[in-house]
Amino acid sequence: MSIADAAPIEVQPGAVDRSPTPRRRRHAGRFILPTYSWLVIAYLVFPIAMMILYSFNKVVGGMQLVSFTWLGFTTQWYHQWSSVPGLTSAFWLSIRLAVVSTVLATIIGTLLAVALVRYHPPRFRGKTAIEQVLFLNIAAPEIVMGSSLLGLFVMLNINRGFLTLVLAHVMFCIAYVTVTVRARMSGFDRALEEAAYDLGARPLVTFTRVTLPLIMPGVLAGALMAFALSIDDFVTSYFVGGSSIPFPVWVYGATRVGIPPQVFVFGTGIFAVGIFFAVLSIFVAKKKV
């Protein structure tokens, strides 16, 4: 609605009176952009809407599995959200994994971003190499990374489980955190750090009191991205998880038999939390400006 409301602002009353022809053209044109926009939004939202809708669907028959026939509204699955044991433990594993990976990847990625912006060769040898690796990390197909990680862990004889999952998730999250924080750092006025030194703050104090608070929006955005990447990662987790099965891998396994409706409940929950943070970040950003 807001898009449709904003469109007529373009029309200048003075110009319209003198020449009626462009006025008609503009009149027709003002519907094209909003229509297009809403079609795209509908296309993007449709699958999510279906998931949310069918999390309220009744199920008949012995097996409690999702069917895409509408059988009536129920909140049963929200009451029984934890009644599928494998699903619940997979979900909590995913949460633990995402939290640990996010914290580690955010710390490592932020420090890396600061180093990349701050130091140059000759003091920082291998800077270009690190930048290339970061790019590769983002660009490489996940299937390649997942299978090569599996090969690596097998070769090193490391038991696959939570540890290997964390290692893999931290690895693919670092690049995204670094890129996000780096973008924030590039507009950073170096004189602010010099001012802090000048006022007697040692490097560590300068970092915690001046640099970090100023790049915090970038750090938070990077962390949010890392969390989102980790919690819905399937390919890599499938390869390196071993007997530890995170939520997406469990859902994939379940599809062969049939999906319990609780999957939609968890899906809806994760989506709601994601929306909450997205809206929150918009408000925080607005307040800052």
Binding site: A191, L192, A195, D198, L199, G200, A201, R209, V210
Partner: protein, 418 residues
């Protein structure tokens, strides 16, 4: 043109407060609150010294073998066009750049290798560099918190300091809500509240408009005499430097071209660069032909003899020199006037006469074709020729100076700075 009225105001202001140049090693609080009453302690020892400082960036020399002494309590300016090395010099004092060669001494202590956070020096940055995530109070208190001063003491000193820079009640404002002039005063307060031995100011006025700049110059000078801290001020604005400084150094290409009190450097420039950068000068090329009885005679390229007091010739062994006189030192007299004793004269024809309100500016073409600028105060009594009139230019010998000619030309953009 320099504003001489203001300059004199400054000088008299300084004369009233000579005791403020007292150097205090101990950071006594009374230095702030009752600086005017503090006892005179004018130590002659230097507060800041550069010993053979050289700074190279790659192959480029930013500063070349610089020697400099700034006395305690002095308002000292480093003046020069952009890229002359003045900011680099200041950054070496602050600890943000390390000299390639040489030593930096502050209060007799070698600080060459000390990082900025270990130096008893504070800086007002060109961009002010106020912390945007902190309010005015937190900005000003930043340095005191790092020193571990206790809360009530911080509150008192920050309050005093905001009072002093005329921003009481601004504690909770964010830097982004302040005007340029207010931000600058916060930056000044944030530096001064730490009571440093030395305050560095890196073109702090460059972002202010002309009127505010004039106001801040007065403020800054007042604050400096109140706190008695050594100020080192970097600027490319020659008027600003002359207005505020006790002494100044004109820098060019990493070297000091002239140093002294503003009056000294202005009246007796020692290089062609200083003569043209600091105010305007009429310069005529020539050769030294004789030197006797403390008077040296220069024969200009156009064949006129001009006499200069010998102490105004930097080096008597120079063969080719430029002889100069400031536009406001020249008197215009009617055609046919004779040379008065002790005066130099040139003859010419007025080409352009411009009325500027406070005075008249004339461009006179001399017999030899050289153009000379003359500036006459509008006091309504003197001879006022029009364009095309033949005139005689005359000025006392002691207002003549000679400089070593520059090799090549000074480029205009270098003079303007930015």
């Amino acid at each position: 043109m320099p504003d001489w009225g203001l300059e004199e105001h400054w000088q008299s202001d300084c004369n009233r407060l000579p005791s403020m140049s007292g150097r205090s090693e101990t950071r006594s609080e009374s230095r702030f609150g009752h600086a005017r009453g503090s006892k005179a302690n004018s130590s002659e020892s230097a507060d800041v010294r550069f010993e053979h400082i050289t700074k190279r960036f790659g192959d480029a020399y930013a500063v070349a073998d610089l020697n400099l002494e700034v006395h305690a309590g002095e308002f000292f300016s480093l003046l020069g066009p952009s890229g002359c090395g003045k900011t680099t010099s200041l950054r070496m004092l602050g600890g943000f750049e390390e000299p390639t060669e040489g030593r930096v001494l502050i209060g007799g202590e070698d600080v060459t290798d000390l990082p900025p956070y270990r130096r008893d020096v504070n800086t007002v940055f060109q961009t002010y560099a106020l912390f945007p995530h902190l309010d005015v109070y937190q900005n000003v208190a930043f340095g005191l918190r790092r020193q571990g001063v206790d809360k009530s003491e911080i509150k008192r000193r920050v309050g005093e300091m905001l009072e002093m820079v005329d921003l009481p009640g601004f504690d909770r404002r964010q830097p982004a809500q302040l005007s340029g002039g207010q931000q600058q005063r916060v930056a000044l307060a944030r530096a001064l509240v730490n009571q440093p031995k030395l305050l560095l100011l890196d073109e702090p006025m460059s972002a202010l408009d002309a009127k505010l700049r004039r106001q801040m110059q007065v403020e800054l000078k007042r604050i400096q005499s109140q706190v008695g801290i050594t100020f080192i001020y970097v600027t490319h604005d020659q008027e600003e430097a002359m207005t505020m400084s006790d002494r100044l150094a004109v820098m060019w290409h990493g070297k000091i071209e002239g140093m002294g009190t503003p009056k000294d450097v202005y009246d007796n420039p020692t290089s062609e660069f200083v003569a043209t950068f600091l105010g305007a000068s009429n310069l005529l090329g020539g050769k030294i032909v004789r030197s006797e009885d403390n008077r040296t005679t220069v024969l200009t390229d156009s064949g006129v003899e001009i006499t200069v007091p010998s102490e105004r010739v930097p080096d008597l062994s120079m063969t080719s020199v430029k002889v100069g006189v400031r536009p406001e030192k020249i008197d215009l007299v009617p055609e046919g006037s004779e040379r008065a004793p002790g005066h130099n004269i040139l003859r010419g024809r007025v080409r352009v006469s411009t009325f500027t309100g406070v005075g008249n500016q004339y461009i006179v073409e001399t017999e030899s074709g050289v153009e000379v600028t003359v500036y006459a105060q509008n006091i309504g009594t003197q001879f006022a020729p029009r364009s095309g009139d033949n005139v005689v230019l005359t000025w006392p010998e002691e207002h003549t100076f000679t400089v070593r000619p520059l090799v090549g030309n000074i480029e205009i953009n270098e003079l303007e700075g930015d």
